[in-house]
Amino acid sequence: MKGSPVNGNSDIELIKQFKNGDVKGYNEIVRKYQKQVYWVIRRIVQDHDETDDITQEVFIKVYSALKDFREEANLFTWLYRIATNFAINHIRKVKIKNTVSFEVVTEVIEYQEKKADEAIDDQRKRKILEEAIETLPPQQRAVFNMRYYDELPYEEISKILGKSVGGIKANYFHAVKKIGEYVKRKL
């Protein structure tokens, strides 16, 4: 999962195949990158169903835009950019829609958790981490996922998000700090 699994020559061949009208090239690209794309989105969005929907949207976008893709560009970076943008746009929309209801739901969950007085297990840890990540601004969230989970170099993240390397480093630092503070409060 970690790192950029780009096989440049192979990608170019697949793109050419698709441009020549053979859908097998596209299918191969989907199979090759579906997990990476899924996890890029999942770590930003958190919810599996929403991730599934956005993953499909990303590959539909790829299907329509691949014919205009310049072969000298990096396919993985391009996919990553599309996936990140789709995920960030999604959480921005959801955040605007569900600001109040999310808080209410969180309170209910907290109440139930306290009452049950259950031990901190993996499921709860996961929940706390998801919540911690959800408190991050979209860009910090994306940077954290790219750097921590996918171990992308700062330069590549900077290309994907169109921000300076210094800005990306600052985003990453603040993201880790905020997650730590949230986890500390919750445990």
Binding site: N27, V30, R31, Q34, K35, Y38, R42, R43, H48, D52, T55, Q56, F59, I60, Y63, D122, K125, R126, L129, R147, Y148, E151, G166, K169, A170, Y172, F173, V176, K177, I179, G180, V183
Partner: protein
């Protein structure tokens, strides 16, 4: 001092990578030196390391193998649906333009047809009015001729009737004429009156079918068309 603060800020940003062991040896050495000098940085490093330990211990649920095998067909399904929807939407967008355009053309067509018909009717009315005027004029001419004849001293009951005739109105067989017919019968039985005179007096009472000689001669001078129109008008003017 400001240089130190700037360095501390720079080293702060390097701490997450140091905690994850992602720095090159040179950067690593710089951070380690800074940590030995600054307790603040050391505390921060402790916090960040704890966070990473926590995050490392959390495993997100992996989707099932079935999920990955069905993802591609589902993507193709959605692509097809979108393409179909796109074609329907394109068709709808064409209709959105076509229907109002057709309606406008239809309205324009109906409008022009109605207008043309109305203008045709107007022309026909004008023509009829013109013909009526011509007829009146002709009738006046006939009258004038009759008056001329009267001036020549040839005035007779027949010409009197023509002189009194008004175009557009036809004398009905009025009470007077009925009386005359009755009188005629009475007088004939008495032998006082010639039946010929009474018949001549009631000439207009019997309708356009029995015009007197003068009128008929006037009508002969008219063209066939004018004559027909005049006769028709005289017939139609009967109440």
């Amino acid at each position: 001092m400001p240089k130190n603060i700037k360095n501390i800020e720079k080293i702060k940003l390097m701490l997450p990578d140091y905690a994850m062991d992602k720095l090159n040896p040179e950067e690593k050495k710089i951070v380690e030196n800074a940590l030995q000098e600054s307790t603040e940085l050391m505390a921060l490093y402790g916090e960040l390391s704890g966070t990473f330990n926590f995050v490392n211990g959390v495993k997100l649920e992996e989707p099932s193998a079935q999920y990955w095998s069905t993802l591609l067909p589902r993507i193709h399904e959605r692509i097809e649906t979108k393409q179909k929807r796109f074609s329907v939407e394109t068709l709808v967008s064409y209709w959105k333009i076509f229907v109002p355009a057709a309606a406008v053309i239809l309205i324009a067509l109906i409008y022009f047809l109605v207008i043309n018909k109305q203008s045709d009717k107007t022309i026909t009315k004008k023509q009829i009015e013109q013909i009526q005027k011509d007829t009146v004029k002709k009738t006046d001419d006939i009258k004038k001729e009759v008056v001329k004849e009267e001036d020549k001293g040839k005035e007779s009951p027949k010409t009197e009737k023509v002189k009194n005739h008004k175009p557009g109105f036809k004398k009905l067989p009025d009470v007077k004429n009925i009386d005359v017919a009755q009188k005629k019968e009475e007088l004939e039985s008495n032998g006082d009156f010639a039946s010929e005179d009474i018949e001549q007096e009631s000439v207009f009472g019997e309708g356009a079918g029995s015009l007197d000689e003068e009128t008929e001669s006037g009508l002969d001078r008219l063209s066939d068309n004018e004559e027909q129109l005049l006769i028709q008008e005289l017939k139609n003017s009967n109440l």
